[in-house]
Each structure stands twice: as structure tokens, then as C-alpha cells.
């Protein structure tokens, strides 16, 4: 436990000593703000045109804005998660510090756990910071906080799955740039695979739709917490971590 904590702390420091943390935070918050504004402007347009037509269908503004925000956040994370995981193992391999890590009493699983927890912590920091864009809603209206919470919960699971994938890929190479691109590429494929699902029929279609990393997010954003989606993301993360573990083991055999 002490080992995991030590590695977690070192990773956190290394995020915030290097520019990575600030770049990721800045991009994330800027885009969140931008899309929040965009989403709101869109709603204003809709309500104006509705008023001109004479009809008045009530719009739950806070609800619409937050669900729009969550959907764009998911897209932004697709780009940012690779930056959070790129250095986790590849940097250690490049600098030779992996040789230190694996010759001290730290086990592979502890090294993995410490690093994974650090990246999860950073994810939580991102979400906490993004609350700045959502808080004004509470000032000017009374949004239902439950779907917001379940949305964040879903986003966390989604992020955790992508982080595990990135962690695995960073064990494969000592080049951070390669790690970024492969992680991004694989995540993107898992994202757009849903489009392929539209052309498929029968069970192929449902399998493809099940694999899509984004499809499982919708219910959370709507405020529905469905165990099947939780199982999907947790399994995804678990597979990523397991592959990372095996990859660390095999690295020792290959030398």
C-alpha cells in the first residue's frame, strides 16, 4: 500500500511539474466553456424561433445544456486522455527508471495501480474544474442535480476505461508520441464503430453497438444508471489493466 501511495504521489507531482497537466486543464476548461456557451446560444435561438411561430413548448434549459456539455466533454476526453497516459510507462522505459522500479520490492501490480490511480485522480481534477461551467446554472435556475451527478459518474467510468487503454499502450513503447497516437487511434475506432453498426444488421449490429465506447454514455447523461453500462466500462478498464500487467511481465522476459 505504501508503494502504491508513493508511486501515486510521484506521478501526481510529475503531472503538475511538467506542462502536461496545465495544457490538458486549460484546453479542457476552455472547450467546456466554449461548448457551454454554444449550447446555450443554440437554445436561445430555438426558443426565439418558437416564440415567433407562436407556439410555446417548455424547454428544460439546464437539462439540455448539461447533456450537450457532457456529450462534447466525452469528445474532448478522446483527445486529452492519451496525453494523460502517454508518459506513464513509456517515459520510465526511455529514462531507464523502469529498471529501478522493477528491481525494488514494488510489484508490477503495485506500479500499475499507483500509476492508474494517479491518472484517475487527474480525471477527477478535470471534472471538478469543469464544474465551474455548470455552477452558474444553479445560480440562475434550479436544475435537477441528479442527472448531472449520474452524468459525471458515467463520464468517470468512460474516462477510466480510456485511461486503462492508454496505460496499456504506454507499456508497449518507449516513445510518448507513438503512445499518444496509438491510444488516440484505438479510442477513435472504438468511438466511430457505432457508425458501422448502422449499416450492419441482426446480431452483428447489436454486437457492434455494444462495443462502441460512446453508446453506453447516453443513459448516464439522461440520468439513468444502468448496471449493464457500468459492467461494460468496468470490464473495458479491467481488460486494459490486465493487458498492461501482462505486457509488463513479458517485457522482463524479452529483456
Amino acid at each position: 500500500m505504501q508503494n502504491i501511495l508513493a508511486i501515486w504521489q510521484r506521478e501526481m507531482k510529475s503531472y503538475f511539474v511538467s506542462p502536461v497537466a496545465y495544457v490538458v486543464l486549460t484546453i479542457f476548461l476552455f472547450l467546456c466553456g466554449l461548448f457551454f456557451f454554444g449550447g446555450l446560444a443554440q437554445l436561445v435561438q430555438i426558443s426565439i424561433s418558437q416564440a415567433q411561430m407562436g407556439g410555446q413548448i417548455p424547454i428544460d434549459v439546464p437539462r439540455e445544456v448539461t447533456s450537450y456539455l457532457f456529450r462534447t466533454m466525452a469528445l474532448i476526453l478522446l483527445f486529452l486522455v492519451p496525453m494523460l497516459t502517454m508518459g506513464l510507462f513509456s517515459e520510465e522505459k526511455k529514462r531507464g527508471t523502469i529498471e529501478l522500479l522493477l528491481t525494488t520490492p514494488v510489484g508490477n501490480s503495485q506500479a500499475l495501480a499507483g500509476k492508474y490511480l494517479a491518472s484517475l485522480t487527474f480525471l477527477v481534477v478535470l471534472f471538478a474544474a469543469s464544474a465551474i461551467t455548470i455552477l452558474p446554472l444553479f445560480v440562475y435556475s434550479q436544475p435537477d442535480w441528479k442527472p448531472i451527478l449520474s452524468g459525471y459518474f458515467g463520464m468517470f467510468l468512460y474516462g477510466a476505461a480510456l485511461l486503462a487503454l492508454g496505460l496499456f499502450i504506454s507499456t508497449l513503447t518507449e516513445n510518448q508520441i507513438i503512445a499518444v497516437f496509438i491510444t488516440f487511434g484505438v479510442s477513435l475506432v472504438l468511438w466511430v464503430i457505432a457508425l458501422a453498426g448502422e449499416w450492419a444488421v441482426g446480431s452483428a449490429r447489436s454486437i457492434i453497438e455494444y462495443l462502441s465506447v460512446i453508446g453506453h454514455l447516453d443513459d448516464f447523461i439522461k440520468g439513468v444508471i444502468d448496471t449493464s453500462h457500468i459492467i461494460y466500462y468496468v470490464t473495458f478498464a479491467f481488460v486494459g489493466l490486465f493487458l498492461a500487467y501482462r505486457s509488463l511481465e513479458s517485457m522482463r522476459w524479452k529483456g
Binding site: 508503494n3 508513493a6 508511486i7 510521484r10 511539474v17 511538467s18 529501478l100 525494488t104 520490492p105 522476459w253
Partner: protein
């Protein structure tokens, strides 16, 4: 303390280490000598549990490096060829981190870190970023890291690589001092280092052990004979015949070219016999002038070149 038995390592079909066996007793400093690519680093990586061997077993303090890897790791300090530094950390926070992952108790951490900082003379740079340090300091931080948690066995891969002469001297002195409380294996391709710091030498080439002895013993064993060099004023041929006729002399070689009046001879004598006074007496009773006489020992360098160029 360290037992290596028939260890081999195969990489992509190439035998990087081929059936190596040796032992290191407690308190010994073993020098691991060999040209680049001889298998030194691979052997050390096997000993430190970084990679498993393909064949054979290695034990440290009675624990198998493969079966009881965690127990072994608790007992070793390892300095890899490139000091494993996190470039963005300060020396002090880096050492504190290593102390933590090595399982040093929280209460002792501060004092242990201070201790190794003092031992490795890092006081001036303790709050500097490791990435900005000179090569010599980086190496010393790497060594300090290996000393944390006071391991029984120290495994140092080329500890003096890339240092200037003064730093090399300092590190060697430090390593000698460590031998009191630790068992040390160090690898190097610099010969004087071995004769200065090690009790015993293993010479390895192309993955195989080609010789193993004390530095002195190795020099003697390789020479196969005691050698005496003497410079005599007198008729060259006669002197040579006379010297060759002395009991115990195996071979006499006159150096070439000789000066006008004197010639230098290298006399090989039977191992273990000291013929210096006999040789001197023989020369003097003939009425020749004895200008110089001294024993010649083969340097470790000669031994090394001899061994690794044999094939």
C-alpha cells in the same frame, strides 16, 4: 552471499550469457571485467531480478532470484548503467521516493536519505533538479539511491562511467569504504579500477567466464612464470649463455636493439622461484657490470588482452 550456477540467457537466438557460474562471499568486492557487449549488464540484470535467466539458477543471500524475487529485491541495491533518475525531481525528493518504494520505514526515511547524501557527497546539490546535474553528480545520485535501505548486496554497473579522474577517484574510495558492510559486484571495462577496488575478478568475454582469481593471482597465473629483467655490461652472447645455464631459468631473451656496451635481458624463471640474487651473483663473479635488475610482473592489462584475444 551470491551464488550463480550455470546461468545462461538467450536473446533472439543469441547467447548473451553462456553457462556462467561464480560465487561471491560476504564482504567481498567482485570485479566483473569484460569488453563491451560481453554480457556484464545481462548478468547483473539477472541478479537484480530485472529479467529471468533462460537456464541456471542464481541466489542472493540464499533466496532464488526467480522464486523469491521480492526477498532478493529487499536485499539489493542496484545502480544500472544509466542512473535511473526522474529528471523533474530534486535530489532529495528523488531519494525520498526511492526510500519509500524500497520499504524504508517512515521514521527512518529522513535520516537514511541524509545519510546517503552525506556518504555520496551530495550536500551541495540536494535541492537541485536531477535532470540539470552534471554526469558525475547524476552517477553519484544513482549510487546514493542504491545505498538506501542499507542493502546487503550492491550491484553496480559501470559505476565510474563518464566521470572525470577526480570523480573516479572519489567513487572508488567510496566503494572501498562500502566493502566493510556490503558485498559488492561491480562491472567495468577499465582495468586499473579492478586492481584498485576488487578482491576478486571475473573476466568474461562473449558471455563466458574466461578467468576468475584475485587481481594479483590472475597476473601471476597468466604469466605462468616469474620474470626478471636485467641490464648487463658485457659480451651479449656469452652473458646470455651464462644466464641460461643457471638452474631454474627457463628462457632468456636479449632485448633488441642493444646499446653499444650493455644489453637488457628478460629472464623467465620457474614459477615460485626467486632467482634475483643468484642472477646477480652470476653476473658479478664473471666481472661484468650489473646496471639494473628488477622483477617484472605482468599487468592486468596484459592478462586481459591475452585472455580476450585468445580465440
Amino acid at each position: 552471499m551470491i551464488e550463480v550456477e550455470h546461468v545462461s540467457k538467450v536473446y533472439n537466438g543469441r547467447r548473451a550469457v553462456d553457462d556462467i557460474s561464480f560465487r561471491v562471499e560476504k564482504g567481498e568486492v567482485l570485479g566483473f571485467l569484460g569488453p563491451n557487449g560481453a554480457g556484464k549488464t545481462t548478468t547483473m540484470r539477472i541478479l537484480t531480478c530485472y529479467m529471468p535467466s533462460t537456464e541456471g539458477t542464481a541466489r542472493i543471500a540464499g533466496y532464488d532470484v526467480f522464486e523469491d524475487s521480492i526477498e532478493v529485491r529487499r536485499r539489493i541495491g542496484y545502480l544500472p548503467e544509466n542512473p535511473p533518475l526522474y529528471m523533474e525531481m530534486t535530489v532529495e525528493s528523488y531519494l525520498d521516493f526511492v526510500a519509500r518504494i524500497k520499504g524504508v520505514r517512515p521514521r527512518q526515511r529522513k535520516s537514511q536519505v541524509n545519510d546517503v547524501i552525506e556518504k555520496c557527497n551530495l550536500g551541495d546539490v540536494r535541492s537541485r533538479i536531477t535532470g540539470k546535474l552534471s554526469k558525475g553528480y547524476k552517477q553519484r545520485v544513482g549510487l546514493a539511491q542504491a545505498l538506501l535501505n542499507n542493502p546487503e548486496v550492491l550491484i553496480l554497473d559501470e559505476p565510474t562511467l563518464g566521470l572525470d579522474p577526480k570523480q573516479i577517484y572519489d567513487i572508488r574510495t567510496l566503494i572501498k569504504g562500502l566493502a566493510e558492510n556490503h558485498t559488492v559486484i561491480l562491472s567495468t571495462h577499465i582495468l586499473p579500477e579492478v586492481s584498485m577496488t576488487c578482491n576478486r575478478v571475473v573476466i568474461i568475454n562473449k558471455g563466458k567466464v574466461v578467468a576468475m582469481d584475485t587481481p594479483d593471482g590472475l597476473a601471476r597465473q597468466m604469466a605462468g612464470a616469474e620474470r626478471v629483467s636485467l641490464t648487463v655490461e658485457g659480451p651479449a652472447d656469452v652473458v646470455r649463455d651464462k644466464l641460461a645455464s643457471i638452474d631454474g631459468v627457463l628462457n632468456v631473451q636479449a632485448s633488441d636493439p642493444a646499446t653499444e656496451t650493455s644489453t637488457t635481458y628478460t629472464v623467465e624463471c620457474k614459477l615460485g622461484s626467486d632467482l634475483r640474487s643468484t642472477l646477480a651473483a652470476a653476473v658479478v663473479t664473471q666481472g661484468w657490470g650489473l646496471l639494473d635488475l628488477h622483477g617484472v610482473s605482468m599487468s592486468l592489462e596484459d592478462v586481459f588482452i591475452n585472455l580476450i584475444t585468445k580465440e
